[in-house]
C-alpha cells in the first residue's frame, strides 16, 4: 500500500470543486453512477441534510454530493428541510442529474436558517468548476472547512488479492476536539473497488468504528456528522486488502481531525493494551483522551499520571490497579507507571516527553488481550477563546 496524491480525485472519473465566500463555502463532488453508502450521527436531533441524505442513500446510488460550511441547517424546522431539498434540486439541475441521487451535507452554526442567498450562487459557481485533479480535491476540502486550520485529504493505492490496483481517496473536516461530539465531522471517501452498497456499508462501518469514532465519542455526536463512501466500481472485487486500506485511510483522516482540534497545540494518541474486551479497551482509551484534566495537563507539559489513572477508573471497566503499566512516548519512551506504581525517578524524563508536540500514552492493563487506539488533543486557552466567541 502506498500513499498517493489527489485526495478524492485520486479515483478516475470522480470530479470535485469548491468555492468560498467569507465564512460560507460550497463543495461539490460528482460521483456519477457510483454505488454508495454512509454512516451518520447518532444524535437524536438530526439536521435536515442528514435526514435527506439518508433517504438518498436508501437505494445505494449516488451521483453527486453538495456540502456547505457556515450553517448546519439544524433545528430549522420545515423550512430547513425545504432549504436542503432546494440545495439538492439546484445541484441536480446544474449538473443534469436526478435530484434523488444528490446527497447534501452541512456544517456550521445550529438553529439559524440557511442563508440561501449566499449558498445558491456558491452552488452555481462550484458546479461550473468540477474537475478530476489534486487541485480540485483540495478546493473541495477547503470549501467545507469551518474552524479547521488546514484541509484534510488522504489517498492510497494498493493491490487487491488478485493483483489488481485499487485506490481510495478521502477528504474530511472537523476541528472541535474537547467535546468531539459537538463539532461536526464530515468525511467523503471515493474508491474504484467493485462492491455493492451493502458491502461498502459493512466495510465503512468497520473502518469508522476504529477511526472517526475513536475521535468522536459514540452516541454523543454532532447533529450533522456523516461519512459517505462512493465507488465507481472500476477496479477489482472487494476483499480484505480493501478493508485494511480503508481502515488505514480513515485512521489517517481521523488523526488529522484530532491534530486540528480547536486551539490545539499537541496531538495525543492513547493506546490501551490487554484490556478484558474490545469494548473496555475502547472505553478506557476514549475516557483518557477526552478527560479535560488530562488534556490540560498535556497542554501544560505536566506528566500528571494521576489524572490518567482517574480517567481509567472512571470508566467502570474491570482493571486491577496493581497490574497497570503506563508509558509516555514521544522522542523518548518512559515507563512512568509500573505494576500500579508511579516511578518517581522517571518524572523528569516524563516531563521531557510531555514537552513534545505528539504524545503517545500507552496503557497496559494486563487483564485480557484486547486493544484500542483513540486520538485527541490538548485543551488550551485558545479552545476557550474560539468557543466563547463563536456564534454571530
Amino acid at each position: 500500500m502506498q500513499r498517493v496524491n489527489g485526495g478524492v480525485c485520486t479515483v478516475k472519473n470522480i470530479k470535485a470543486s469548491g468555492c468560498k465566500n467569507g465564512k460560507h463555502g460550497v463543495g461539490i463532488l460528482l460521483t456519477k453512477n457510483c454505488e454508495a453508502a454512509g454512516v451518520f450521527t447518532k444524535n437524536k436531533i438530526k439536521a435536515a441534510p442528514v435526514r435527506l441524505t439518508k433517504k438518498v442513500l436508501r437505494d445505494g446510488k449516488l451521483s453527486a454530493i453538495v456540502a456547505n460550511s457556515g450553517n448546519a441547517n439544524c433545528f430549522t424546522g420545515k423550512k430547513g428541510m425545504e432549504d436542503a431539498i432546494k440545495m439538492q434540486e439546484i445541484t441536480a439541475e446544474k449538473l443534469n442529474l436526478d435530484p434523488n441521487e444528490v446527497a447534501v451535507a452541512s456544517t456550521g452554526i445550529i438553529g439559524l436558517r440557511m442563508p440561501m442567498e449566499k449558498i445558491i450562487p456558491l452552488i452555481n459557481k462550484a458546479s461550473l468548476k468540477l474537475n478530476n485533479s489534486p487541485k480540485a480535491s483540495r478546493k473541495f476540502a477547503k470549501a467545507i472547512m469551518t474552524t479547521d486550520t488546514f484541509p484534510k485529504e488522504f489517498a492510497v493505492e494498493f493491490r487487491l488479492k488478485n493483483g489488481e490496483k485499487c485506490r481510495i481517496g478521502g477528504v474530511a473536516k472537523g476541528a472541535g476536539m474537547i467535546s468531539p461530539n459537538m463539532a461536526t465531522m464530515l468525511s467523503f471517501i471515493t474508491t474504484d473497488i467493485d462492491a455493492s452498497a451493502d458491502e461498502l456499508y459493512e466495510s465503512l462501518k468497520i473502518a469508522v468504528d476504529r477511526s472517526f469514532n475513536m475521535v468522536v465519542v459514540d452516541g454523543d455526536q454532532s447533529t450533522n456528522d456523516m461519512v459517505l463512501i462512493s465507488s465507481t466500481r472500476e477496479s477489482g472485487e472487494i476483499d480484505e486488502k480493501f478493508q485494511t486500506a480503508l481502515n488505514f485511510l480513515c485512521e489517517e483522516l481521523a488523526k488529522m481531525i484530532a491534530k486540528d482540534g480547536e486551539g490545539a497545540t499537541k496531538f495525543i494518541e492513547v493506546i490501551v493494551k490487554n484490556a478484558k474486551s474490545s469494548e473496555d479497551a475502547k472505553k478506557i482509551a476514549k475516557s483518557i483522551v477526552s478527560s479535560p484534566l488530562v488534556k490540560t495537563a498535556v497542554f501544560g507539559s505536566d506528566p500528571n499520571v494521576g489524572r490518567i489513572i482517574a480517567a481509567i477508573g472512571s470508566t467502570n471497566c474491570d482493571v486491577k490497579e496493581e497490574k497497570i503499566n503506563i508509558r509516555l512516548k514521544s522522542v523518548t519512551d518512559v515507563n512512568i507507571v509500573k505494576n500500579g506504581e508511579i516511578i518517581k525517578s522517571k518524572i523528569p524524563y516524563a516531563r521531557k516527553v510531555m514537552n513534545e508536540k505528539e504524545i503517545k500514552i500507552i496503557v497496559d492493563l494486563k487483564f485480557g488481550n484486547s486493544s484500542a487506539k483513540a486520538y485527541g488533543c490538548d485543551l488550551t486557552y485558545d479552545y476557550v477563546k474560539i468557543n466563547s466567541e463563536y456564534s454571530t
Copy 2:
C-alpha cells in the same frame, strides 16, 4: 425550615477543628458514638482512605473523621493503605477512640505518597483544637479546601412531624467543574435525627442523587469522592420532613460546589421539565450542564442555543424537536425557543440574560412529566490555567 449558623457544629455534641500548613490541611470532626452512613465514588480505582472508611462504616458507628487536603493518597499501593491506617490510628490515639470508628478522607494530587511528616503534626495540632462552635466548623471547612476559593457550609433547623426540632449541618469541598468527575468532592453532614445507620444511608442516597450527583456525573467520579452523615440521635425519629431538609441542604452545598468551579465566572442551573422519565430528565440536564460548548458559550455571554439543542440530542433520550421550548433566565426571562424554533427577535434579550452571573437554562420537552435539575459553571481561560499548572 430555616437556615441557621454553625455548619457541622450546628448539631450539639459535634466538635470540629482544622489546621493548614501551606497546601496541606487536616480537619477533624468528633462524632462520638454517632450512627453513620456514607456514599462513595463509583470510580473503579478507589483511593486508600475510601476503602478504609467503607470498612469503618460497616457496623454503622462513627466516632471521628480525619480529612486531609493536598494529597489524595490514591494509586499509592500498599504503602498508601499503611498511611491511611496510620492517620486513623494517630487520630484515635490522640482522641482516645477506637481506631475502627475513625473515618479517613483525602483530597489532592493522585499518585504521590502521603507526606506523613506534614500530615502527622497537623493531626496532632487539630486534635487539640476541637470545639463545638461556628468558628470550628469554618476551620474544618477551610482545612479541606484544595482549589476551592471559599469554604462551603450550610445548616438548617426544622420541625419533625411530631413537632420536635431537628438540625442538619454540612460542609463540603469540591471545585473542578468542567469534568466534575475528576475533582474530588467531599461532604460531611451532621444531624441529631434519631435514625439507624440503614435509615441514614437510604435518606442520604436519595439526597445525594438529586444534589451532588447532579454536579458530579455518575459512574465517572473522582477516585476519592465521599459523603458521610453522622447522627447523635438526640432529636426525634426520622420522617419525611427530615428527607426534605436533607435534600435541601445537599442541594445548597452542591450549588456552592458548582459556583466554585475552577476558574468559573458564572453559575449555571439547568432545569429539564416534562421528560419521558426521571432518568431521561437527569441525563439531559447533565448533558447540557457538562457540554464544553455550552460552558464556553456561557463564558462568552453568547446565547448559542444550538449548542443546548445538540447537547439535548446527544443523550439519545426520546425528544421531539418540534415540541422543545427553551427559556433563558436571570434578571429577565426569555423564551428563546418555542416549539422547536429559535425566536430570532429575542436574541438581543437572550444576550442580556447571558451577561449575568447566575443563569438558568429551562428546557421544556413536553414529552412526559419528569423533571430534573443540574448544576454547573462556565468554562474559562482560568480553568485551563489552573489545570495546566496544577501538579508539582
